[in-house]
Symmetry: C2
Subunit: 500 residues, 2 copies
């Protein structure tokens, strides 16, 4: 029989009538073995479904394994670790924070469900073998060099977030010494996936969905060793194939401003999950949004500094999440940015090598610093003078940095930390993806489910969908929790028979 | 025969096999009788095709008729009107300007084709009966109260546009006394449509596309007098149904920041053209982008003023197109904005009633004005002092306003024109839509044409696709020119036979 090799495309479904044979028969086919795919597989297999997991790489992990492994958790009075640290995290505060973090089109239903079930999700993670140390890091950091757990990982204490939701630290990092807890997290989830008997097929790419004429998804065409294999998925297909940060053409079309950030965080992340979903009518939303950051703190004393653009102007309260500051940087005119500090607060950034953060200029007066940076005469000095005047009164009427971070910058030497966007390391990944229900069903533009198709993680548009609201741990929270929902929903779906 | 009334949806195509009967048989079905639909109909009928035009309203015009009728034209050495006014507009300059106006994902192929053929398009417009007076308005205005033609209608002379393209006025307004030249333009095009024997069906809504299983478009279901009618379109369907500014749910999902602007410019514009295209795999792009403006000038003397946000900061060179300033306003934190002027330049804005522009405060000193506006002490005054210091030297190193607009603001009384976004009239329409080829073919996510489907005007993403680059006349230029291309391409397409 002639093989329609290379004729398949992630842009077009293969119609059921064009399937030459079924090479594999499963109940649930999952694409991608990162945190979303692993969580979906665990729940689906745990519910008794036959699950096959396809991964383009040679092992598990995906982009989740590149992360710090931090998960944003709270509500219901707090996780044991939050409570030990003296925080009671009310569900309503958590919900309000998630809504703000999700931005002007937050998915209220997802925020609500997650706020209510996040504590149970913590317990689920622990049950999968993810270990958390009962410890809290009170300083503002990005990721612990230790094996500590609880962090302030967002903009909880900063304006305007603090006005709508009582602040609480919610970033939970696995007990793993040093950076890179994402690998630890993924190893734990992968062990569970294997223990549950999920069939794993590595080095296998999803090249097209199989659907009937009404776009009901019946399976998947995968390519293994150069050969197309036709996979029947009787209960459904779950796309957990990451975002599109490695696909420059898609970035150019959907989020061209993100090309200003120079360091994509991704493994495959070529947009194929999103494209597969679109091929059967799935609706991709918020494709212009992305996460971006420059870890310019810790040390947290630098938060007492002020960030300026090349007009010498401030543009944000510097006490928000570092990614919120970076998002605002991306939206400014020009490429040159500096964090201004004085001798009383300046210390070398902990990530100076990693992020290519260097001192751009140092001087005995702000006038001299302004001249060294070749900023317009009077620009930086006016900004500093105004900031100092208000900081001396314990307030920041322009951008509402909280009083604990306010201190007049008057002690020489004066330092400009160079945060240029064309030099420093700006990390980025995409937040746009397929619209999904709280059950992980892929939705059309009219928000009707595409029968038999689910998505989770960065293939979907989930809890994090607004760059200016991102907080560390939101993407893994979304991937693991809604990956689970997708796995459960698919497992409960009536299986299709042979004739369909 | 039972009628599947109300079962059709713009979100799902009606499959050919489900068509109960063909009520109408045409070669080209056009949806929408604005400038794009009219231009498509003229070219298609002129090429000998049978054309049926469906319009939801009771007459022609669409949102185009609400406009000033201005069309952005130039290149090839200039239109007769540009040349009479002393401007030679080189094609390369025009192309570079269109590229910048289109933003970071400008459609270079569309910009190139339009730059090269814009002069011929001018002649085509004249041949259709659109009359232009041979006159030029050198002052910076928004729309003439007279019957004059040529205007500076964009950011041509402003930084950064002026660095990439030699400035030239390109806004061509029809000879029509007063505002509202869009009605005159549409009347002229509609007369041609009628003269060419196009079948017109008013009060008729497109409710679904008709497509085969491969999503090849075969026709259209329309609703007339409460009854569904099945229209066979043998050469194709052209969607010219406007944007989605009247659809709040779509705005919320795709462009939530645009909900900050309070005055949509639209008639139907409910997104149905875009949704119909998506229902057969059409790819909607740049859905987050929109046009927004507040006509705070003329008089042009106000351009010598400075626009500030509620941090008391400037944020843009004020000599760009008014819509560019408004776009930046939309992206600032807060809702309060003012144009600051001194006694030497302040005159009442010509559109003060229309746009609800009022004086927010007036005072004998900037300090007093700052206090009256309840701005943080030292904020406005520092901004004015810095601006005046540089303006006295004939430069604006922060935002690069051009020297002709620079003048220290030192002559009392000092005035703050209130430009609050929650009070003044901010006009807005959407720029996101279906991706199309230069021939008007609707494209999938992989940029393959959807067979038999075309789109133009704001149903598509065309020349204008970036709010910060919009210039008056770009939307009508795009609608008329690429409407024509769609009409020509559909007319040349091989007609489908009865069996398909």
């Amino acid at each position: 029989m002639s093989e329609p090799l290379a004729s398949h495309s992630r842009h077009r479904p293969c119609r059921v009538r064009d399937v030459p044979r079924w090479d594999l028969d499963t109940e649930i086919a999952i694409v991608g073995f990162g945190a979303a795919g692993a969580s979906a597989a665990i729940e689906a297999a745990g519910a008794g479904a036959r699950v096959t997991l396809f991964e383009a790489a040679s092992g598990h992990g995906g982009t989740s394994a590149l992360s710090g492994g931090e998960i944003y958790l709270g509500g219901s009075g707090g996780t044991p670790i939050q409570r030990s640290a003296g925080f009671s995290d009310e569900t309503e505060d958590f919900y309000q924070y998630l809504l703000m973090a999700g931005g002007p089109d937050a998915d209220a239903a997802k925020c609500r469900l997650y706020a209510e079930q996040s504590l149970a999700h913590y317990e689920w993670l622990v049950a999968q073998g993810v270990v958390y140390k009962n410890s809290f890091v009170p300083q503002r950091i990005v990721e612990p060099f230790t094996d500590d757990c609880l962090l302030w990982s967002g903009s909880e204490e900063a304006w305007p977030f603090c006005e709508s939701a009582r602040p609480c630290p919610r970033g939970h990092t696995p007990q793993w010494m040093g950076l890179g807890g994402g690998k630890f997290l993924m190893d734990a989830l992968a062990r569970r996936v294997q223990a549950l008997g999920v069939e794993l097929r590595f080095d296998t790419r999803a090249v097209a969905l199989i659907a009937d004429d009404a776009n009901r998804v019946r399976g998947l065409v995968v390519r293994e060793g150069g050969v197309d294999r036709y996979v029947r998925a009787r209960r459904g297909v779950i796309l957990c194939a990451g975002g599109f940060i490695m696909n420059k053409a898609m970035l150019q079309q959907h989020a061209p401003h993100m090309l200003r950030a120079n360091t994509p965080i991704g493994t495959v992340d070529d947009g194929s999950g999103i494209l597969l979903g679109q091929s059967v009518g799935g609706h991709a939303i918020h494709m212009n949004e992305g996460f971006v950051t420059l870890p310019w703190y810790p040390p947290e004393s630098l938060i007492k500094g002020i960030m300026i653009n090349e007009q010498g102007q401030r543009f944000i309260n510097e006490d928000g999440y570092h990614g919120r500051t970076a998002q605002m940087i991306l939206q400014q005119r020009g490429t040159r940015f500096w964090l201004l500090a004085d001798g009383g607060i300046f210390k070398e950034p902990e990530f100076s090598e990693f992020a290519k953060l260097r001192i751009g200029a140092a001087a005995e007066s702000w006038e001299e610093l302004e001249a060294e940076l070749e900023l317009p005469a009077g620009s930086l000095t006016a900004t500093v003078a105004l900031y100092n005047r208000h900081a001396a009164e314990g307030r920041d009427p322009l951008f509402r940095k909280q009083p604990k971070w306010l201190k007049p910058l008057t002690q020489p030497p004066f330092v400009a930390l160079d945060c240029r966007i064309d030099f420093c390391t700006y990390f980025t990944f995409t937040l746009g993806g397929l619209d999904t229900s709280v059950r992980g069903e892929v939705l059309t533009a009219s928000r009707e489910p595409v029968a038999g198709l689910y998505a989770a993680g960065r293939t979907s548009s989930g809890l994090p969908r607004w760059g200016a609201g991102y907080s560390s741990g939101l993407s893994l929270a979304d991937a693991t929790f809604f990956g689970r929902q997708a796995g459960l929903a698919a497992a409960r779906r009536e299986p299709a028979g042979d004739g369909t």
